[in-house]
Amino acid sequence: MRLTALAVLLGVALAAPTGPAMAAWRGYISHPLGFAFAAPGELKVEKGTYQGTVAGQHDTLIYRFIDDNIEYKAVVIDVGDKANDAANLLGEAEYLFQEKKKVLMDTFGRVDRQYGRKFTIELPNNGGRTTAAFYFVNGRIVSLQATVLPANGDYETPEMGRFVDSITFFTVRAADDAIELPAPPK
C-alpha cells in the first residue's frame, strides 16, 4: 500500500510541467494617468520616443512585462500639446502600428466610454504575433500590446486578449489590490 502511494506520488511529480512556471496575473493602476490593467510577470518601467508625421516626436512611458515568452506592454504617449488633434493622432498611431504588416484583426475597441481600436498583426520575419488596443484619453495615446514571441509559438493563446481587454479607464474598476504604477525614471 505504502509502495503504491509512493509510486503514484512519483508519477505525479514526473508528469508535472517541466517548462517555466507561469506567473500570476496582478492588477496595476496609475491614478495620475487614469487607467488600470492586469498583467503577469515582473514589471519594468522604461522611457522611449514615438515619432509620427502628424504627431511629431514625443516621449513615451512603457510598462513592460515578460512571461512565458509573451511580452506585455502598456505604452503611454503624451501628446497633451496637440490634444485638440486627438482623433487624428490616434488614427496615425493605429495606422503606423499595422503599416506593412499582415493584419489579422481590426475592430472597434470600446471601454468605459472610450472608443478606440483593437488589432492583431503578424510581425515581419516570423517575429511573432501582436494583439494591441489603442485609446486616446486625457491628452495621451494609451496602447496595450501583447506579443507572442516565436519561442512561445502559441499564437492562439487567450493571454493576449486577456491583457488588452483588462484595460479600464474608470479606476474604481481596478482590482482592489492593484499595484500603483511607478512614475517614469528620471
Binding site: N84, A86, A87, N88, G91, R113, Q114, Y115, G116, F136
Partner: protein, 190 residues
C-alpha cells in the same frame, strides 16, 4: 441602312430607360474647411444627432440624389470638445455600423504628410434590403465630417463605383479643390 436605323433606335431606347447621369461638380465650404464632389443638385439642410458621448448636436447636411444614389455630407461642430475627438469619432463610426452587416472597414487617410487626416471608411448593407451605404468619417479642426453614399434598391447596382468616388473626393487642403468649385453656404445653427 436599315440595320443602322435599327441600331440607332436601340441606342435611343437604352438612353431613354437609363436615368441620366447628372454631371459631377466640385463643392467647397471655406468656412468649414472642406470640399467634395457630387452629382445632382445639392440641397442644404440642418438636422440633429445624438450620441451617448457626443450628446445632442445640430448638424449641417448637404444632400443630393442622382440615379437613385443618395449622397450626404454631414458636419457637426465640437469646437469645445476637440480633445475628445477620438472618442467622438469612434462613437460615430460605431453607430454607423451597429446592427448592420459590415462589408468593409478600413483606414481612411486624406492629404499627404503632416497635413494627413486619419479616419475610417466603412461599407454596410442596410437592414431590410434598403440598400448599401459607403461612409467615410473624419474629425479635424473641431468638426466631425462624414460622407455617406447610399445605393438605393431602385438603383440596385450595389457594386457601383460612384459611392467610392464621392467619399474619396473629400479634401481638407483647399488648394487641392478644383478651380470653379461651387461655394456652399453654412446655415446658421441655434
Amino acid at each position: 441602312m436599315r440595320r443602322w436605323v435599327s441600331a440607332a433606335a436601340g441606342t435611343a431606347l437604352v438612353l431613354a430607360v437609363t436615368p441620366a447621369q447628372a454631371g459631377w461638380k466640385s463643392y467647397i465650404n471655406r468656412e468649414l474647411g472642406f470640399s467634395f464632389m457630387a452629382p445632382g443638385e445639392i440641397k442644404t439642410d440642418v438636422g440633429t444627432f445624438r450620441g451617448a458621448v457626443a450628446g445632442p448636436r445640430e448638424t449641417i447636411v448637404y444632400r443630393s440624389v442622382d440615379n437613385n444614389i443618395e449622397y450626404k455630407v454631414t458636419v457637426m461642430s465640437f469646437l469645445q470638445a476637440q480633445a475628445e475627438g477620438a472618442t467622438i469619432l469612434g462613437e460615430r463610426e460605431y453607430m454607423f455600423q451597429e446592427k448592420k452587416k459590415v462589408l468593409m472597414d478600413a483606414f481612411g487617410r486624406v492629404e499627404p504628410g503632416k497635413d494627413a487626416v486619419y479616419g475610417r471608411k466603412i461599407v454596410v448593407d442596410l437592414p431590410d434590403h434598403k440598400g448599401r451605404t459607403t461612409g467615410a468619417f473624419y474629425f479635424t479642426k473641431g468638426r466631425l465630417i462624414s460622407l455617406e453614399a447610399t445605393v438605393l434598391p431602385a438603383n440596385g447596382d450595389f457594386g457601383s463605383p460612384d459611392p467610392a468616388l464621392f467619399v474619396d473626393s473629400i479634401a481638407f487642403t483647399l488648394s487641392r479643390t478644383e478651380p470653379g468649385a461651387v461655394e456652399l453656404e453654412t446655415p446658421k445653427l441655434e
